[in-house]
Symmetry: C2
Subunit: 163 residues, 2 copies
């Protein structure tokens, strides 16, 4: 059998988003990812946005696609066209009592105090500030759809324990 | 401000699982990840299982924790104790019509035909086989909770286009 599962790669996590402009702006401007690739599906009336932490985004569509599908740590946002114009439209975040499942994505940051201070200045919504609850070294913010994003100190930058 | 968002890392994706024995076995034995770290929370009555594609798992708890929180491509499984003994208990996968949100995780494989053949032999549940639908180069399987896992050819191994 010509397959070796230990060579597989956990490439991406897909979440559906109501308004891709708001979501791409959040993951780029607030969380520092880069939008590396977009795929439109005319028949299915949806678009896929791929974001990741990369230094540079290549210029050709083929290179962008290869970048999106060759590494771990990619976030895929699915936009079903038109949802952004429906005032009452809302996706399930996975954290409501009646529809628990998916929990969150998690981002390692270089300096968690400074990162959270910056999120405050950017008026980001917090589920849990560093000072809330028992765990003083993690925070939870939400993206434009209300999906939870955990914020954790990157121990390889600080030398501090992450959690 | 001492934080540079471009230096952040998309570390992990968390999903809740009903039975960690079944889920850890699936992600290890079927998908080839390694279980690199576990955290138990007695007060909250839950355990966290961290899995990733790594060559080796370090021996000390501190090293395991650092490994889990210092890289992209980590999967976190949350087990709220006791759910495995409740016959009717079920998490929302994010793909049911009434609770859409989270879509899937995605795994790049070395040889997609061989990988899918092996999944068949292991009696893995398929949402979409390679031969189903219009997109003949991706498959979807489910994990023990019914969460969707997309299977994609790794272009950096095959030289073939991924999607």
């Amino acid at each position: 059998m010509a397959t070796d599962p230990s060579k597989y790669v956990f490439n991406h996590t897909m979440i559906r988003v109501k308004d891709p402009k708001a979501s791409v702006a959040f993951y780029e401007d607030v969380l520092g990812m880069k939008h590396i690739h977009k795929m439109d599906n005319e028949n299915g009336k949806f678009s896929l946005y791929f974001l990741a932490y990369v230094d540079t985004v290549p210029s050709t569509e083929e290179e962008k696609k290869l970048l999106a599908f060759s590494r771990p740590g990619v976030l895929e946002l699915t936009h079903n066209w038109g949802t952004e114009n429906q005032p009452d439209f809302k996706y399930c975040t996975g954290n409501a009592a009646e529809s628990k499942g998916f929990g969150h994505t998690a981002i390692l940051v270089d300096d968690i105090e400074a990162a959270c201070e910056r999120f405050e200045q950017l008026k980001v919504n917090f589920i849990k500030r560093l000072t809330d609850g028992n765990m003083k070294n993690i925070a939870f913010i939400t993206d434009p759809d209300g999906y939870w994003v955990e914020i954790i100190q990157n121990p390889s930058i600080s030398g501090k324990s992450p959690v």
